[in-house]
């Protein structure tokens, strides 16, 4: 109890937590309805990995089911466009499965009947060399779903004799530097690799105090570091987060690295495909001139 300046007596909150503790605990106890809602939400946010042909869930993780020597993951629309135009165009890739998930960032509200066009995370392998995998992830994987995604894809005991390459984008305003931001040559590439990755990167390494966020980092790269898998993340800092030709072309130096060598054949044709992709996208927006 405390007296205020005006003479009235008010109950002061006590941080020691004394006589009111029991009342509060009762309020905190979960009712059956709360539990039901919580379970429903967990079911809704579950990450499901589905086989291509049958659309049934995979019993084991993707990389436990299929042997993998090389895994290239593109996260974000610019990285996905880059792999679609340059890598997927240069060989025959077969879809092996897809990861379906829902979170508040998704545009659809129906979680049970997601159509195949909405499969946001699609996995492919190269027909001529089925141990080479590719993942196109154009959706946002929320923090609580990242571990599930990793488990369903990599499993709890991943093989160490594979190499992972991750491509993603970030806005240049996230880049911390002592230089003036106006002078930054955006878009530009930076790399971050695990200890076991011995090859050199085709661009400078990410300087401190910059950090990488979300699935590419908190997820895949950390996972690879813990399990001693050689992995490298190529991060493109750009000033245009929507699908943009110049941002996609900023990934081009990666084509000469060992990660993508042998997978890219027809570069001029790839550039044409990329341009077509851009034009179909451009027409939809009238905001900018």
């Amino acid at each position: 109890m405390a007296a205020t300046f005006f003479g009235e007596v008010v109950k002061a909150p006590c941080r020691a937590g004394t006589e009111d503790e029991e009342e509060e605990e009762e309020g905190r106890r979960e009712t059956p309805e709360d539990r039901e809602v919580r379970l429903q939400l967990a079911r809704k946010r579950e990450v499901r990995l589905l086989r291509r042909q049958t659309k049934t869930s995979l019993e084991v993780s993707l990389l436990e089911k299929y042997p993998c020597s090389k895994f290239i993951i593109a996260i974000g629309n610019n990285a996905v466009a880059f792999l679609s135009s340059f890598v997927m165009n240069s060989g025959v890739w077969e879809e092996v499965g897809c990861a379906k998930l829902w979170n508040e960032w998704c545009r659809t509200t129906d979680t049970t009947h997601l159509s195949s066009t909405e499969a946001f995370c699609v996995f492919y392998h190269l027909k001529s060399n089925p141990s080479v995998f590719l993942c196109q992830c154009s959706c946002y994987v929320a923090e609580d779903q990242q571990y599930q995604w990793l488990e369903k894809v990599f499993g709890s005991c991943p093989r160490k004799n594979m190499q992972i390459t991750i491509l993603t984008c970030r806005h240049v305003t996230d880049y911390k530097t002592s230089e003036s931001t106006g002078s930054l040559p955006s878009p530009f590439l930076r790399a971050l690799k695990t200890q076991n990755f011995k090859d050199s990167a085709c661009c400078p390494l990410l300087e401190q105090p910059n950090i990488v966020h979300d699935l590419p980092a908190a997820g895949v790269l950390s996972y690879c570091q813990v399990w001693k898998i050689p992995a490298i993340l190529y991060l493109c800092y750009t000033d245009v987060m929507k699908l943009d030709l110049i941002t996609v072309e900023a990934f081009k130096p990666i084509l000469s690295t060992r990660s993508l060598k042998g997978l890219v054949k027809n570069i001029p044709q790839s550039t044409e495909i990329l341009k077509k992709l851009m034009t179909t996208n451009e027409i939809q927006s009238n905001i900018y001139t």
Binding site: G182, S186, D239, V240, D244, L245, I246, K275, T279, E282, I283, Q284, N286, I287, Y288, T289
Partner: protein, 224 residues
Amino acid sequence: MDVCTFEKVGIRGTNIVVLGVEKKSVAKLQDERTVRKICALDDHVCMAFAGLTADARVVINRARVECQSHKLTVEDPVTVEYITRFIATLKQKYTQSNGRRPFGISALIVGFDDDGISRLYQTDPSGTYHAWKANAIGRSAKTVREFLEKNYTEDAIASDSEAIKLAIKALLEVVQSGGKNIELAIIRRNQPLKMFSAKEVELYVTEIEKEKEEAEKKKSKKSV
């Protein structure tokens, strides 16, 4: 920082000013005429902008009203510098007011003053403006500006057609799919704004390609 993908180029010639813009591909059902990037502010001044179309509309309307108000008040048309300063001041006000955001556009303003001298100015969202002999705005502005730095010579701008060709060549450096994606406007001294039709642009593009071929033939002859 230019978010817009489409290039705009402005060149100040001796007797002509040229504005070239990269045309955006429009949807099939959209009326192309309503997607204009080069706007006349008055008979002797015009402007091309890069950025948010809606913001540009507001700025252009204010500038047009100011041009007429000036003409009625002091009985003289605005100088290019005056209207540029007006636009830049307007933009700056919005960077220093609460509850407002800056105009998301960069503009190239060209025209002729009463003294017969051509002018080219560039403004940006902060409200600064500078005079240029030739400049580009847009996503690949750096590339285009480097091209202009190499090729902007007194000879290049001496004749009207050479200045027009320089503008087109600069745009072709970065514009995909060539001449049919280029829109051009010129102002000649004491003449109103002239917008080029697609055919006229094509004619210039063909001429440029011919000159390129001839230059290459000469080069190969020399090396042989």
